[in-house]
């Protein structure tokens, strides 16, 4: 009899808890393979840490209910054609309630078309290109500072150190890098720099010797550009092995990854515009502090978080808060809550534009600059060097 009572009790308890703790499905694709692999997996780790913490805390509490988070994801092979097929599947077959973006601008832009066609909220992270937000969407929200801002800080910093520098732009011919470099080129000229050389290289380029020979011939003294991890790390290696006489090298995205240290001497001195660094201490109004996040992340993955990881985690936080504010997972209400969002988390300020011609564009968040330096023991570490207010070390200039 006792047993029966116990069994009934357990069943009822199960029923009650499952009744209260509903499950929300968040869908996205990950580049488990292909050129975006390294960055994309770091972003995934950010997502996963957020999910695990939410579920451990009993789910998102909104409108008197608890919502646990469940992920559905597929490998997009870093291929934008797959992305559309898979996001359609996530929406239609897997009935995802909310979506996160894949990693990288072109993949995100293609996914955005599908999510917008089916009117699903998608938070984009790991995608800084801004053109997508001018196409007239309503359900897209960008976590990253748009590309146009990426290299402005570097040029401002260079202006203080070496106003006579001859600048070379060598960048991937991808929507993200182009969206970064075009405004940067204009800004460099506006600041009075000599833009000595500028050339885009095809995505998946592995042999940079022709371009490097041209950089040398142009007598450039600083190099700005890059694209993503695969091409950026290759470019840095070859710049190093060809002993190009440069005083500064700034590359997009790639040097932010903890894997960058594996390049050894080729890694030293390289600067990366970053969405976030563990050293930047924002006062979080919502969610964990930067230190807590970094500690939890390192505890789970045995490596410090990159800004892709931080972006992934912050993406979850912002969605969580919007669901709480909306009082449930209703798409229109959550979208409205996101439109009204203006908060500071460990990741910095987040605010989305609500103007019709750039809806969802990130307008609150700001960049920092990090440089790979050797510490006293000779180990490679990434230090924040700009803005000066947030710096953790002085800029090394020139590199050699």
């Amino acid at each position: 009899m006792k047993r029966l009572v116990l069994a009934v009790f357990v069943l009822v308890a199960l029923f009650v808890t499952t009744g209260f703790a509903q499950t929300l499905t968040v869908g996205f694709t990950v580049s488990n393979t292909g050129s975006m692999n390294v960055d994309s997996v770091e972003q995934l780790h950010g997502f996963e840490l957020w999910r695990d913490q939410v579920n451990a805390a009993g789910g998102i509490k909104a409108g008197g209910k608890n919502y646990k988070i469940q992920f559905v994801s597929y490998d997009d092979e870093s291929n934008s054609k797959r992305v559309q097929q898979l996001y359609s599947r996530l929406i239609l077959q897997d009935k995802a309630d909310f979506l996160f973006s894949p990693y990288s601008s072109p993949l995100t832009a293609t996914a955005a078309i599908v999510t917008e066609q089916y009117e699903k909220v998608m938070l984009t992270t790991g995608a800084a290109e801004g053109k997508t937000y001018t196409l007239g969407n309503h359900y897209l929200f960008q976590m990253f500072t748009p590309g146009a801002e990426y290299l402005k800080g570097v040029l401002d910093m260079l202006k203080t150190k070496d106003p006579k520098a001859a600048v070379a732009f060598v960048y991937e011919d991808s929507s993200f890098s182009v969206s970064v470099v075009n405004p940067a080129k204009a800004y460099a000229q506006q600041l009075g720099f000599n833009v000595a050389f500028s050339e885009a290289y095809a995505p998946n380029t592995t042999d940079f010797s022709a371009i490097i020979d041209k950089v040398i011939a142009s007598k450039s003294t600083v190099l700005l550009g890059g694209g993503h991890y695969a091409d950026g790390s290759t470019l840095a290696r070859q710049v190093y092995s060809h002993k190009v006489p440069l005083k500064m090298v700034t590359l997009l995205v790639a040097p932010d990854s903890p894997k960058w240290g594996e390049l050894g001497d080729a890694a030293v001195g390289v600067i990366v515009p970053s969405q976030w660094e563990p050293q930047t201490a924002f006062k979080a109004q919502y969610g964990p502090s930067g230190a807590d996040f970094a500690k939890a992340y390192a505890g789970k993955y045995n490596t410090p978080p990159s800004y892709e990881s931080a972006g992934g985690y912050a993406c979850g936080l912002v969605l969580q808060r919007a669901i709480e504010q909306a009082g449930g997972p209703d798409t229109a209400k959550v979208a409205a809550a996101l439109n009204a969002t203006d908060i500071t988390t460990f990741y910095g300020r987040t605010k989305f534009s609500t103007a019709a011609n750039e809806h969802g564009l990130q307008v609150g968040h700001a960049m920092v600059l990090a440089q790979w330096q050797k510490d006293k023991s000779g180990a490679l570490v990434k230090q924040v060097v700009w803005p000066l207010a947030a710096k953790s070390a002085n800029l090394v200039y020139p590199i050699h």
């Binding site: 292909g34 692999n37 092995s241 060809h242």
Partner: protein, 286 residues
């Protein structure tokens, strides 16, 4: 030193690796009239072969070419028996598709093992600096190795019995059979050597650039261009044409954006193919 000269030297160095890759394609095409579409996949396997060997035995990477070549020969025999032997004598479409099928399988298995993420062979030789320009030590070594392997093949074809048998079969398969040469053995051998050449060129590339399992495709395309420029069944011609292609790339890049190179190369390829279907260098003897 001027930028153009430096660029041309860089082109020449990488061109010899293109040439080595093309030698394998050219040999198989010329001897057995099979366009080997496993070429790119085998080049990629050569890259990963070097990666695995270097991880196990971190000696001078160029010494590891020897085991890569040996493994390439075995792989070549295997592919020959799986996909080529049965379609010899059938239409060219059959061998085109059967080798392509093997290509898909290799890429598929490779993707399952290594995903399509980039890998590196962390081996660096000291470069040579001339003025502002430094020529990468690995590029110099790889070019040297490519030329040595190419010349070794030429010696093999002209100075040894099996080499002469290969040339005889390439010339006239029926006549060679009448003279008591087993064409099956010779075809299998030629195919194996072609595959070994492709694998060795992949191994050389792996010491220069990062690579993925898909990287072979680009070198396969270059091999087509080089083979067509050189004319079929002329392995040494392929080596020379590869070097010339590299030189051409080096000579034009100072003046135009690098992104135009494929258009020039493949445009040239199509035009040459249409104008001289037997190859530019083959015209004199045709």
């Amino acid at each position: 030193m001027s930028g153009i000269l430096a660029s041309m030297i860089d082109g020449l160095l990488i061109g010899s690796v293109y040439g080595l890759a093309a030698m394998g394609l050219s040999l198989i095409w010329g001897v057995m009239d099979v366009i080997n579409l496993t070429h790119g996949a085998v080049i990629a396997l050569g890259m990963f072969g070097m990666y695995i060997l270097f991880a196990a035995f971190p000696v001078n990477a160029y010494l590891l070419l020897l085991p890569v070549i040996a493994a390439g020969l075995l792989l070549g025999l295997l592919i020959y028996w799986i996909a080529v032997h049965w379609v010899i004598g059938r239409s060219q479409l059959s061998s085109l598709l059967s080798t392509f099928a093997v290509n898909m399988m290799i890429i598929g298995i490779g993707t399952a093992i290594w995903s399509t993420s980039p890998y590196n062979v962390n081996f660096t030789l000291r470069g040579i600096t001339v003025g502002a320009y430094t020529f990468d030590g690995n590029h110099l070594a790889a070019a040297g190795a490519a030329v040595i392997i190419g010349l070794a093949l030429e010696l093999f074809l002209y100075r040894t019995r099996p080499g002469k048998a290969i040339r005889a079969v390439a010339d006239n398969r029926e006549a060679a059979e009448l003279m008591g040469i087993s064409s099956t053995m010779v075809l299998a051998l030629a195919f194996a050597i072609g595959i070994a050449l492709a694998a060795s060129s992949g191994a050389l590339v792996s010491t220069l650039f990062p690579f993925t399992i898909l990287s072979g495709a680009g070198y396969q395309m270059k091999s087509f261009v080089v083979t067509v420029l050189a004319g079929l069944g002329k392995p040494l011609g392929a080596l020379v044409a590869g070097v010339l292609l590299g030189l051409l790339e080096g000579a034009v890049t100072p003046f135009i954006a690098v992104s135009w190179i494929p258009l020039i190369e493949f445009g040239l390829f199509v035009v040459v193919l249409v104008a001289f279907p037997k190859g530019i260098f083959a015209r004199a003897t045709a």
